[in-house]
């Protein structure tokens, strides 16, 4: 088997033109990963710029309301730029800078990863160009403005379904065109090796902190960790340091859109099958001929037809569970957490909250659940209002 495998998944399915670029990245990462100076700089950025460690908050009212497990929320929404995306971006941008790159390119769905990349580029004095599906630039117009405000150029992508998968394709094409001075800051645990490993390592800070914070608060491991899964970066970050603790249930919540029985879904593990796309072997929503499906979710950040290879392998091994959550359930959870705890979660994170509402009551009062609130929901307010029939525009 070739490099970067998670079971049968992963690999490097990319054009020859990019092979030396990913090779260089792999070498640079192997070097800097062990470099104390790099790690000190990154820790400084994460703590003093992004605001880490993020809080582990005991959701008392939610716990009482659900009447089962104690519910803790890992507050990645409190990070600078409002989501977990900054963890990975600061790591990759610093790595790119050490490699002598002067320009960052990135794809974005909801816009959070694009904003995070534009932020890091501003901070480090690098050029930045972000590719975003035309439909998403309309769904998330405010984030487009944020990126421009931060000095990035935003390219709307009109190809295909004009959503996240097309933005990823466009960014790969752009990287093929200009490699020497450019690093592709991939936003999730996907794409060719070494991206799934690099992004996971930079996001693993989430589970490292959860483990430590919960040990301090409760003196033990959680019984379940829940996170939403699109490509799967916040989920792998929240799962990673618990993978070798078999007592901890790891639950990924996929976007089922209008339901897994129809075509308007983005629940890859529930409806996809093994394939090769965007540099990796993994599960993909596709038709019987291997054509990638035009997926749908209310959440632009989960609206992706694939899932990271490590999740595919965790699914195969039965180590993590993946459950589909519909738009309706996610919107109800978005409203629920807002009213119950005064925390407006990203519509992506609301998918995990939705499943928690079903699962927590079925767990014992002596059990502990952690939900990763991967981002804040300010960006989603107008869209959810419209979903509820209000005529609200940003």
């Amino acid at each position: 088997m070739t490099k970067g495998r998670f079971g049968v998944h992963g690999g490097q399915y990319i054009p020859e033109t990019l092979m030396n670029a990913v090779g260089e990245l792999e070498e640079a990462y192997a070097h800097y990963q062990e470099d104390p100076e790099f790690n000190r700089e990154l820790a400084d950025l994460l703590n003093n710029y992004a605001g880490r460690p993020s809080r582990l908050y005991f959701a008392g009212r939610m716990t009482e309301d659900l009447g089962g497990a104690k519910v803790y929320l890992k507050r990645e929404d409190l990070n600078h730029t409002g989501a977990h995306k900054i963890n990975n971006v600061l790591g990759q941008a610093l790595l790119a800078k050490k490699m002598g790159k002067t320009r960052l390119i990135a794809e974005t769905g909801a816009g959070q990863h694009g904003v995070a990349t534009a932020t890091a580029a501003a901070l480090m004095g690098m050029e930045c160009e972000v590719f975003m599906g035309r439909e998403d630039t309309e769904r998330q117009a405010l984030n487009v403005y944020r990126m421009r405000l931060l000095g990035a150029q935003v390219h709307p992508v009109d190809e295909g379904t004009a959503t996240l998968k097309d933005a990823v394709s466009a960014t790969f094409r752009e990287w093929t065109t200009r490699i020497d001075d450019t690093h592709y800051v991939l936003g999730s645990v996907m794409g060719p090796h070494p991206f799934p490993t690099i992004v996971r390592d930079f996001q693993a800070v989430i589970s490292r902190e959860i483990k430590q914070q919960l040990a301090e608060r409760e003196g033990r491991l959680p019984d379940a960790v829940l996170a939403c899964v699109g490509g799967g970066s916040n989920a792998i970050g929240a799962f990673y340091h618990f993978i070798d603790d078999p007592s901890v249930r790891l639950i990924g919540c996929e976007a089922a859109g209008r339901g897994v029985d129809g075509f308007e879904t983005a629940a890859t593990i529930a409806t996809g099958r093994l394939g090769i796309f965007h540099g990796m072997k993994s599960y993909f929503c596709q038709d019987e001929h291997g054509q990638i499906a035009p997926v749908y979710s209310i959440s632009a950040g989960l609206d992706y037809p694939g899932v990271g290879p490590e999740h595919a392998a965790l699914h195969d091994a039965g180590r993590a569970e993946y459950v589909p959550v519909t738009d309706d359930e996610a919107v109800e959870a978005f409203e629920y957490l807002s009213r119950m705890e005064g925390i407006i979660p990203a519509i992506e994170s609301a998918h995990a909250v939705a499943h928690a509402r079903t699962l927590a009551p079925a767990m014992g009062k002596d059990q502990i659940m952690v939900i990763n609130i991967s981002g804040r929901g300010d960006k989603d307010c107008a869209a959810i209002a419209r979903y509820r029939g209000e005529d609200l525009h940003e």
């Binding site: 054009p15 030396n20 394939g275």
Partner: protein, 281 residues
Amino acid sequence: MSSIQAPAAQPGGASAAASGAARVARAFASGKAFVPFVTCGDPDLETTEELVVAMAEAGADLVELGIPFSDPTAEGPVIQAANLRALAKGVTTDQVFELVERVRKRTDVPLAFMTYANVPFSFGAERFARRMAETGVDALILPDIPFEEKEEFAAPCRAEGVAFVSLVAPTSHERVQMIAREAEGFVYCVSSLGVTGARENIATDVTALVERVRRARPDIPCAVGFGIATPEQAAAMAAVSDGAIVGSAIVRLVAEHGRACVEPVAAYVRAMKAAVSAVEN
């Protein structure tokens, strides 16, 4: 429409297996080669059939048949659009194999498939290679399969005598030797950075790239593709290699003329073949 008087493809099995790779070699055996590309099913499969026959008559030495894929990440806008047009018509892999069967009754021009890994993977790599041999496709090009991942597809192709074509790029540097050493059929030299599509200038040092391949493997032909549109560019690329590959410029003619594209494409292929043939060996 007349058709070339040619022997029909041999039936499947070991003898056909030997003929596939041999047919690819034949494409480069008599001087500089011209290799046109079309997307199957754009504007429809009937027109593709006529295009292949007409391009062969017009002097094409090998024809690349694109099996449409929803997300062709190595393609520029022209071929991306052709892929989506073909898929909108409902073109499937099985229909493309049936197209090849019809084409093979009319011409023995060497044929190569160009598509993306998920198409043969979804079909089953072994089954796909067998169908290629049965229907008479001589080579397979998968731009999203680099050297390190190729055995998953190259091994079943080899078992069926189909050449699995490797690509080298301007960024390949020290990788060229390793790639060339295991190359089959011909080496696809990518002329420039970026995706497929016409360029005004090809700035890369293609000569050095081809030389590097030839040093490692003097016996294998090198054809240059990406960015070639004019007879002058084709001649310049053929001068430093064994042939020129042209996709987007032809697909653009197909898009422009629709079902009436066969004559203009044939005229274009004749002009391009004349340009590469005029190059001194």
